[in-house]
Structure formats: C-alpha cells, structure tokens
C-alpha cells in the first residue's frame, strides 16, 4: 500500500520538477534507461548472489548456526533474563541472531518470529514486552558479519576490493545496535516510572 503512494509520488514529483524547468523531454528516455539498468543490475548480481546463497546453505546444513548460537548463550541470558530461562525461547533467539550474523536472512526470519511467539506465551498480552523490543532492535539494526548482497553489488559495479568496507560495516553495526539497545533501555525505564 505505502509503496504505491511512494512510487506514484516519485513520478508526480519528477513531472512537476520538469514542468518547472520546461524540459519534459528528459523523462521518457530516463524511465526506459532506468528499467534497462535494473535488468543489468539483476544480471550482474545473479552470479555472486547464487554463489553466496549456495555457501550459506552449506553453512546451515553443517550446523554452523547452532554452534555460533551455543557460544552466544551466556550473553543472551543477560540480555533476555526472562526468555533466557526458557530453553525453547533461548534456542530461537540464538538461532535468529546467529543466522543474522552469518548473513542467512532466509533462515533468520522464521526463527525470529518463533522467538517472539514463544516470548508472548511467557508474558501474555497484546503488548510488546521489554525483551521483545530488544529483539526487534537487534534485528532492525542488522548485525551482519558478511554483508554479502552489498559486496556483490560493489563487485558488479567494478569496486577494486568489494569487501574492503567490512571493518566500517562492523563498527557501524556495533554502534547502531548499542544505540538502539540503550534507547530501548531508557524508554523502558521512562514508561515504567
């Protein structure tokens, strides 16, 4: 729904801007060029994305997600005091975050949904608990060790070293997750008082 308005808005805005400078001829070639460039983009992304998704499947099958999850258990018991005491919820939580870390977006979402459902059973009601908000922040702030889609995109556009953005991505992710969790802690305290 929202995207329909966004898309139409983009078109209307460009027509208005063109009317203002009396130069309507540029729009038609631009629209067709844009469409063509999207297909070029897809074709150049297809190879790297296919390769990486294949490797991601091997990681999943080899149980790397579970192994990483085991390592993160102590941290999660602290971040999620209530869910951490529940074996099932803790399992979903660690699976969700470790899948995100490894860049397995497809595997992360069902685990995250399962975690929220289980957490709701632990604290019933239509309201999001503090721990649910924390989980949401950890997911929306995107903690990813290997941002593969972006690297594939950079490679397809001719970057000298597609993965050289890794340290910057890590630092940025850590800071944004921390900021989100601090904000959540602050909001949680303010609302309760």
């Amino acid at each position: 729904m929202v995207m329909g308005f966004v898309w139409t808005g983009m078109l209307v805005l460009s027509v208005i801007a063109c009317l203002a400078k009396q130069d309507l001829g540029v729009l038609t070639p631009a629209a067709l060029e844009g469409a063509a460039s999207a297909v070029t983009l897809c074709l150049s992304l297809a190879g790297p994305l296919c390769l990486w998704s294949g490797l991601a499947k091997v990681m999943e099958r080899a149980g790397l997600t579970e192994k990483l999850g085991q390592k993160m258990r102590p941290l999660f018991c602290r971040l999620f005091p209530q869910a951490g005491r529940d074996e099932l919820a803790l399992g979903y939580l660690t699976a969700n975050v470790s899948a995100n870390l490894l860049g397995l977006g497809n595997a992360a979402t069902p685990m995250g949904i399962a975690a929220v459902k289980r957490m709701r059973q632990l604290s019933p009601g239509p309201e999001a608990s503090d721990e649910m908000c924390r989980l949401i922040v950890m997911n929306t702030a995107s903690i990813q060790l290997l941002p593969t889609t972006v690297a594939a995109l950079r490679a397809s556009l001719g970057a000298a070293s597609p993965f050289d953005i890794l340290p910057a991505v890590w630092v940025t992710s850590v800071v944004s997750v921390t900021a989100g969790l601090l904000a959540a802690a602050l909001f949680g305290r303010v609302r309760r008082a």
């Binding site: 460009s14 540029v26 999001a128 908000c133 992710s173």
Partner: protein, 172 residues
C-alpha cells in the same frame, strides 16, 4: 589479508560441510537456486523503482531535495547525496537497494559517496517491514517503544556509516 578472505571462507565452509558428512555439492546447488529465486522475486521491484529513480534524477528533483536537506545533513555529517537512500531504507529493502546501486554507479563504488551508501546498506535493515512481520505474526498490537528505539538505531547507523566511510578510507 582481504584477498584471502573470500577463497579462504569458501574452502572453510566446504571443508566443515564435508567434515559433518553433508552432501556439500547438492546443498550448494539448492542454496544457489534459492538465491536466484530471491533475486527473481525482487527483480520487478528493482525495475519499477530504478525507472522512477532515473526519472527523478533526470528531472532534477533529487538535486533539489539534496540541496534542501543539506543543512540537516551537514549537521549530522551525512553526505546529502545519500539522503534518498536514508529516507527509503526503513520502508523498502528493494527501493534502498535500487537507490544504493544508483549512487554507487553514478559516483563510483570506490568513491566516498559510493562507500557510504554501501556501508549504510550493509549495516541497516528494513525496519518497518521487520517490525510488522515479527509483531504481526505473533499478534502483538501495542508495539510500545519498539519503533522509536529501532529508528534511533537506524539514525545512529546512518551517521556512523558516514563517519566510518570517511575515516577508514582516504579519498582517492
């Protein structure tokens, strides 16, 4: 070091898979097909959005928007050119990918703006989509402070992405 990252990782993953007695090759093919299906599913969105983005750029509307927003950007340290990406990122993953790709190809993937766009894409998520999927599936109606907290994380991500892209790379 970075030259060994990708080949090393590929070998590591394959060896671990073999050690766990998994059928590595068929997993590769299966995962690869999933990746291609995913790409195919976002391809129409990329076509629609890149058409609209190119029209916006040709019309000069993007330039206008960047000039209008540049005082805010200066204050936050975000390159004004990346503002379309910043504004679309929380709402639509494919729109953000389309705008990011456009920025990287216009300014070059190794330019400051191209790198900033890449770091932004790599370290943020489609916030509103994630919240609606997770809470929608679990039947949570009152999201309390989840949205503001997530948006604060996003904003600090955009500011940090601009900062790290500037600090970690000397402009060519």
């Amino acid at each position: 070091m970075l030259d060994l990252l990708v080949p090393g990782l590929m070998i590591l993953i394959a060896v671990i898979g073999l050690a766990k007695k998994q059928d590595v090759y068929s997993a590769l093919l299966e995962g690869g097909l999933e990746g291609l299906k995913l790409l195919l599913s976002i391809a129409p969105a990329l076509v629609m959005l890149l058409s609209a983005v190119h029209m916006l750029r040709a019309s000069g509307a993007i330039e206008l928007l960047t000039r209008f927003l540049s005082p805010v950007c200066k204050f936050l340290g975000i390159p004004p050119e990346t503002m379309p990406l910043v504004l679309l990122r929380p709402f639509s993953g494919s729109a953000a990918l389309a705008v990011g790709a456009d920025l990287m190809s216009t300014y070059g993937p190794d330019s400051l703006i191209g790198r900033t766009a890449a770091v932004m894409l790599g370290s943020t998520e489609t916030t509103f989509y994630t919240i609606s999927v997770y809470f929608g599936a679990a039947g949570i109606r009152k999201t309390r402070y989840a949205i503001p907290a997530a948006l604060i994380a996003d904003l600090s991500g955009f500011v940090m992405a601009s900062l790290t892209a500037r600090l970690f790379f000397t402009p060519p």
